[in-house]
C-alpha cells in the first residue's frame, strides 16, 4: 500500500520493542462486541492509482463543465479566470501540507500570508481590520449577527430580503435554538429596487435592533446606496452588516466601509478560487478596530521575536474556544487557510489596477448582455443598477426554461424559484451573471437559445 511506509519486518521489530505479541494486543481496550475480525464488509480492497483515477475521472466526466459551455450561473458563486501561478503556489508542499501555525517560529510563511490577506481584505471592504478567513460567506454572515449581539447586547437582527436566501437559511438554522430574534423580509420584484425597499428596512429598525443585514449587490444583482441605512442603524444604536457575495464588485462599487458599514462579510471565492461545486470557499470578515475583541475567527498579528525582528503570530486567541471553551466568541475553529492564500495571491497579481480593470470588464459585459436579452420579446430587465449580475423576468416560469437551455448546451442562470421556493411572485425570475470569461459567441448562443426556448 503506497502510502504506508512500514514493512512487515518493521512492524515486527516495533512490536518487539513495545513488548506486544501482535497488533491485536494494542487494541485490547476495544470492547469485544465491537472488535472486527477483518476488513469491513461491503467495501472494495485497495486499488491502484491508475484505477482510482479512471473511476473518478469517469464520474467527473458525467458533469457539464462550466468552461466548456456558454456559462452565466452566479447567485453567490462566480466563474472567473484564475491565473495558473495561483494554483502553482498553493500546491507548494510548504503551504499545502502545513498545519495551523501554532509554532510561529517555523510557520512565518503562513502567518505573513495571513497578515497580508487580512490587510487586503480590510482595504478591499473599506474596513479597518479583517480576520484570517472563515468557512464561507454564509457562516461569516451568521457570525456577524452573533458579533453584533455581543457588541450591542441586543438580540434582534433585521435581514433584508435581498440577502442570499441560503445565507438567511443558515442564520435561521443557527438561531433556531437561541433566543435571537431574526426578522426576515420576503423580497419582491415589483418595486423599483428588487429585493426590498430601503424605507421598509429603515422603518423596521428600533432600539431593540442589534443589526441590519443587507447584501450589496444583492441576490438580484441590484446595487444600492447604503448610506441612509447606515445612518438609520447608527441612530438607533444598531450595527450595519453588509454582505458581499461577488467580491470582484469591490473593484467597481463603492465599498461598504465608505457607505457606513460596521461589519462586512463576504464570499471570497471569486478571487483565486474555483467553483468547486460549492466548496471549499472563503468567508471574509472585516470590521472596525473598536470591535476587534468581539470578532470571531482567527487573527494574525504583528510582533517581534527575541532578537527584535518583525514576526507574526496568531493572536487574541483568548476569544477562542480551545481556551474559552463554552464562553468562546464562536464555534468556528479552522479558517480557510489555503483558499485565503489563493485569494491573496490572485489579489496580489491583480493589484488595484488589475482589480479595477477586471471589475470594469465584468460590469461592461454584463450591461451589454442585459441589453441584448432585454430585447427578447416578453423578457423584462428587472435590475437597473447592477454590477455583473442582473435579474430577468421571463414570460414563463424560469426553472423549466433553464433546464431547456441546459439541454441546448447553455448554462443560463439561476431561477429565483429554486432560490426562493414557495414565493410565487419570483418564479418567473432568473438571475444572470456575466464575467470576463464570457465571449461574444457565448452571448450569441445564450440569446439564440433563450429566444428559441421562449418562442
Amino acid at each position: 500500500m503506497r502510502y504506508l511506509p512500514l514493512a512487515q519486518a518493521d512492524r515486527e521489530a516495533m512490536l518487539a520493542t513495545i513488548g506486544a505479541p501482535d497488533i491485536d494486543a494494542l487494541f485490547i481496550d476495544v470492547p469485544e462486541s465491537a472488535r472486527l475480525g477483518g476488513p469491513i464488509a461491503g467495501l472494495p480492497n485497495h486499488s491502484p492509482e491508475m484505477l482510482v483515477e479512471r473511476e473518478l475521472a469517469a464520474m467527473a466526466g458525467k458533469n457539464l463543465t462550466a468552461g466548456t459551455v456558454p456559462f452565466f450561473v452566479g447567485a453567490g458563486a462566480y466563474k472567473h479566470h484564475v491565473p495558473a501561478s495561483v494554483d502553482h503556489i498553493i500546491q507548494r508542499g510548504e503551504f499545502l501540507t502545513a498545519y495551523t501555525p501554532y509554532q510561529p517560529e517555523i510557520a512565518q510563511g503562513t502567518l505573513q500570508v495571513l497578515f497580508e490577506f487580512q490587510t487586503q481584505v480590510a482595504r478591499l471592504t473599506g474596513m479597518e481590520v479583517a480576520n484570517a478567513s472563515m468557512y464561507d460567506g454564509s457562516t461569516a454572515m451568521t457570525e456577524a449577527v452573533f458579533m453584533a449581539r455581543r457588541v450591542t447586547r441586543r438580540k434582534k437582527a433585521i435581514v433584508s430580503g435581498g440577502v442570499h436566501p441560503h445565507y438567511v437559511a443558515v442564520l435561521n438554522t443557527l438561531t433556531r435554538f437561541t433566543d435571537d430574534e431574526v426578522l426576515t423580509h420576503t423580497p419582491s420584484l415589483t418595486s423599483g429596487t428588487p429585493g426590498d425597499d430601503m424605507t421598509t428596512l429603515i422603518a423596521a429598525i428600533d432600539t431593540e435592533t442589534s443589526c441590519v443585514v443587507v447584501q450589496n449587490p444583492n441576490i438580484f444583482g441590484h446595487v444600492a446606496d447604503l448610506t441612509p441605512l447606515a445612518e438609520a442603524a447608527h441612530a438607533a444604536g444598531a450595527l450595519l452588516i453588509v454582505v458581499v457575495t461577488e467580491v470582484i464588485s469591490l473593484g467597481a462599487v463603492k465599498s461598504p466601509g465608505e457607505m457606513g458599514a460596521d461589519i462586512v462579510v463576504g464570499e471570497g471565492q471569486s478571487i483565486g478560487n474555483g467553483l468547486n461545486f460549492g466548496g471549499p470557499y472563503l468567508g471574509l470578515f472585516a470590521c472596525r478596530d473598536k470591535h476587534v475583541r468581539q470578532m470571531p475567527g482567527r487573527l494574525c498579528g504583528e510582533t517581534v521575536d527575541a532578537d527584535g525582528k518583525r514576526g507574526f503570530v496568531l493572536t487574541l486567541s483568548t476569544r477562542e474556544q480551545h481556551i474559552r471553551r463554552e464562553k468562546a466568541t464562536s464555534n468556528i475553529c479552522t479558517n480557510s487557510g489555503l483558499c485565503a492564500l489563493a485569494f491573496s495571491v490572485h489579489m496580489t497579481l491583480l493589484g488595484e489596477k488589475g482589480l479595477r480593470q477586471l471589475a470594469a470588464i465584468n460590469h461592461a459585459r454584463a450591461v451589454q448582455l442585459a441589453e441584448r436579452l432585454a430585447r427578447i420579446p416578453g423578457v423584462e430587465l428587472v435590475t437597473q443598477r447592477f454590477f455583473n449580475e442582473f435579474t430577468l423576468k421571463l414570460p414563463v416560469e424560469a426553472r423549466p426554461v433553464i433546464r431547456k437551455l441546459a439541454d441546448k448546451g447553455v448554462l443560463g442562470g439561476v431561477s429565483l424559484g429554486r432560490l426562493f421556493p414557495g414565493v410565487a411572485e419570483l418564479t418567473h425570475g432568473m438571475v444572470v451573471a456575466v464575467t470576463e470569461t464570457a465571449t461574444d459567441n457565448d452571448f450569441d448562443a445564450f440569446e439564440d437559445a433563450l429566444d428559441e426556448v421562449l418562442a
Partner: protein, 487 residues
C-alpha cells in the same frame, strides 16, 4: 534574505495579469462607483511567484518532515488527491447548475457518504459541515432538534474534563448547559460519576473516543446504554477516528452522532489552517433531523434535495435546516474518496493498525526518560502522551522542550493539551511515518531531554536556528497590529 511584506514590495499601478480592454458599454453604477483609492498593491507575476515561494520556505510542513501534533493527525497528503480534485468535471462546476448537469458530482457525494456510513456502521450522514467543529455543531443541533421534536426540553450536556475545547463551546452554542465529568486515574471517563449524573435533565453526553489522552474509552458501550436508558443521546467526537478506522465501527459502540474530520482520517491537506470538512454520521434516532441539502438516489439518477417544504421525505422531514450556503466541501470530498478508494477496506484497517503501532513505539521508546502518565495502564491508541514532570527539577517546561525540538529540525508535538495532564506533550506520528523517521525523532527527543537535564541553561531561549526566535505573543495581544500600515 528577509522577505518584505507585499505592501513594501508592490504598488497600486503594478499588475501581474493582462486583461482584455474594457468594452464599451453604458455605466450603470453612477455615483455608486468606487472612486477613492483602495491602496491594494500589485506585483508582476515573477515577483509574485518569488514572494510566495520565499515565504513558503519559512514554513515547516509534512512534506519536509514528521509533524507529530497529537490530535491533529498530520499525515501524508497523496498527490493523486490533488490531481483528482482539479479535474474540471469537479473543480469547474457550479453549485446551482441544473441537477441533470451535475450527476457525476452527486454520484461522488453519494459514494463518499456510502463509504462513511459503512466505515462507521451508522445509517445516515450529513455531508455539508465545513470542518470538525462545524460537524459537532451539526450533531448537537440534530440532538436539540430531536429533543424538541418530542417536546423534551432537557438542557444539560455532560462533557468529560479531557474533551476538546470545541465540545463545550458547541454545546453552549446550541443553548445547552455544560457540566464537566471527571476523568479517572487511568485517563478515562469516570463511568460511575457519569452514570450518577444522568437523569431527565441530561440531553446528551459528548465523548471523545479515542479520548484526548490517546486512550480508547473501554466502557463506551456501557456508557451509551446508560445514556440511552436515561433518555439522552451520545455525541462522539470523531477527531481521533484515525485510530479506529477499519478496526472498530463507532456504530457498534452505540453512539448517536459523530463527526469525521476528512483531513485527519482521510488525508485531505490541512493547508496551514483549512479548509476542513466535517461530515457527521447519525444513528436511526437522529437521522430524520439531519441538515439540508442531501443527495438521494432515485430511479432517474441522483437528486439533490435542497428544501423540505416542497416534498415529502420520511427520512428527513424533521431536518433542522441548512448549515452552509451550498452543499459542503466538494473539493475535500473528492480528495477523501480518492484516498479511501486507494486504501480500500484492507488498507484502512492497516492505517489504524500502523497509526497505533507507531504511537506505541514512540511511547515504549521514550517512557524511560519522559514522564508518561498512563503508560502503565496499557497500550495507547494513535497518540503517545507525555508530561514534563521530569523537567521539573531543572526548571524547564514543555514549552522549552518544544522549542528545543525546533532547533533539532522537527516540528514539536502538541503541547499543553490535554489540559488534564500537567505540561502535556501529545505525540501523534500517524501511519505515514516510517520506522526510520520515528527513530530519528526518538533520537532527537532523547538527546534533547538528556541535554536539557544536563545543561538546562542552554535551553531557556530556544529556538536559535529557526527563521525566528521566540515571538512576543503577549505584546501582540496587548496592542494588536492586525494589518499593515505604512510607516
Amino acid at each position: 534574505l528577509e522577505e518584505p511584506l507585499l505592501f513594501e514590495l508592490g504598488s497600486t499601478d503594478r499588475c501581474g495579469v493582462d486583461l482584455q480592454s474594457v468594452p464599451e458599454a453604458m455605466d450603470r453604477l453612477g455615483d455608486l462607483a468606487r472612486t477613492a483609492p483602495i491602496d491594494l498593491p500589485g506585483l508582476s507575476e515573477p515577483e509574485t511567484v518569488r514572494h510566495y515561494t520565499r515565504l513558503s520556505r519559512q514554513n515547516y510542513a509534512i512534506d519536509l518532515g514528521i509533524f507529530p501534533l497529537g490530535s491533529c493527525t498530520m499525515k501524508h497528503n497523496p498527490r493523486l488527491n490533488e490531481k483528482m480534485a482539479r479535474l474540471p468535471g469537479f473543480a469547474d462546476i457550479h453549485p446551482l447548475q441544473p441537477q441533470a448537469t451535475v450527476q457525476g458530482a452527486l454520484e461522488l457525494i453519494d459514494r463518499l457518504a456510502y463509504w462513511l456510513m459503512t466505515l462507521t456502521g451508522m445509517p445516515a450522514v450529513a455531508m455539508s459541515p465545513k470542518a470538525g467543529a462545524h460537524g459537532e455543531l451539526c450533531g448537537m443541533l440534530a440532538i436539540r432538534a430531536a429533543l424538541d421534536a418530542r417536546g423534551d426540553s432537557r438542557k444539560v450536556v455532560l462533557v468529560p474534563e479531557s474533551a476538546h475545547g470545541t465540545n463545550p463551546a458547541t454545546a453552549a452554542f446550541c443553548g445547552f448547559t455544560v457540566e464537566n465529568i471527571p476523568a479517572n486515574a487511568r485517563g478515562r471517563v469516570d463511568v460511575d460519576a457519569l452514570k450518577a449524573r444522568l437523569g431527565p435533565d441530561v440531553a446528551a453526553v459528548m465523548i471523545t473516543n479515542p479520548n484526548t489522552c490517546g486512550l480508547f474509552e473501554p466502557d463506551l458501550v456501557d456508557i451509551c446504554a446508560a445514556v440511552h436508558a436515561a433518555g439522552g443521546f451520545v455525541y462522539c467526537d470523531g477527531a481521533n477516528f484515525n485510530a479506529n478506522v477499519g478496526r472498530v465501527r463507532p456504530g457498534d459502540l452505540g453512539i448517536d452522532a459523530m463527526h469525521i474530520n476528512l483531513h485527519k482520517t482521510f488525508s485531505t491537506p490541512h493547508g496551514g489552517g483549512g479548509p476542513g470538512s466535517g461530515p457527521v454520521v447519525f444513528s436511526e434516532a437522529l437521522a430524520p433531523f439531519a441538515p439540508l441539502p442531501f443527495v438521494r438516489k432515485t430511479r432517474e439518477g441522483f437528486e439533490l434535495v435542497e428544501e423540505m417544504q416542497a416534498r415529502e421525505s420520511a427520512d428527513h422531514n424533521h431536518s433542522f435546516g441548512r448549515m452552509v450556503a451550498f452543499h459542503g466541501q466538494m473539493g475535500m470530498f473528492v480528495r477523501a474518496l480518492a484516498y479511501m478508494m486507494s486504501h480500500g477496506a484492507d488498507g484502512l484497517r492497516q492505517v489504524a493498525e500502523d497509526a497505533v503501532l507507531n504511537a506505541n513505539y514512540m511511547l515504549a521508546s521514550l517512557k524511560d526518560i519522559y514522564t508518561a502518565p498512563f503508560a502503565e495502564t496499557g497500550p495507547c491508541m494513535h497518540e503517545a502522551l507525555f508530561a514534563d514532570d521530569f523537567l521539573g527539577p531543572v526548571g524547564l517546561t514543555t514549552l522549552d522542550l518544544a522549542k528545543a525540538l525546533i532547533d533539532e529540525g522537527f516540528h514539536p508535538m502538541t503541547v499543553y493539551f490535554p489540559l488534564v495532564v500537567h505540561g502535556a506533550m501529545l505525540v501523534e506520528p500517524t501511519e505515514t511515518e516510517s520506522k526510520a523517521s520515528l527513530d530519528q525523532l526518538i533520537g532527537a527527543m532523547r538527546s534533547v531531554a538528556e541535554r536539557m537535564l544536563a545543561s538546562p541553561n542552554d535551553f531557556r531561549t530556544s529556538p536559535h536556528l529557526a527563521p525566528r526566535r521566540r515571538l512576543d505573543e503577549t505584546a501582540a495581544a496587548r496592542k494588536p497590529v492586525l494589518g499593515y500600515k505604512a510607516a
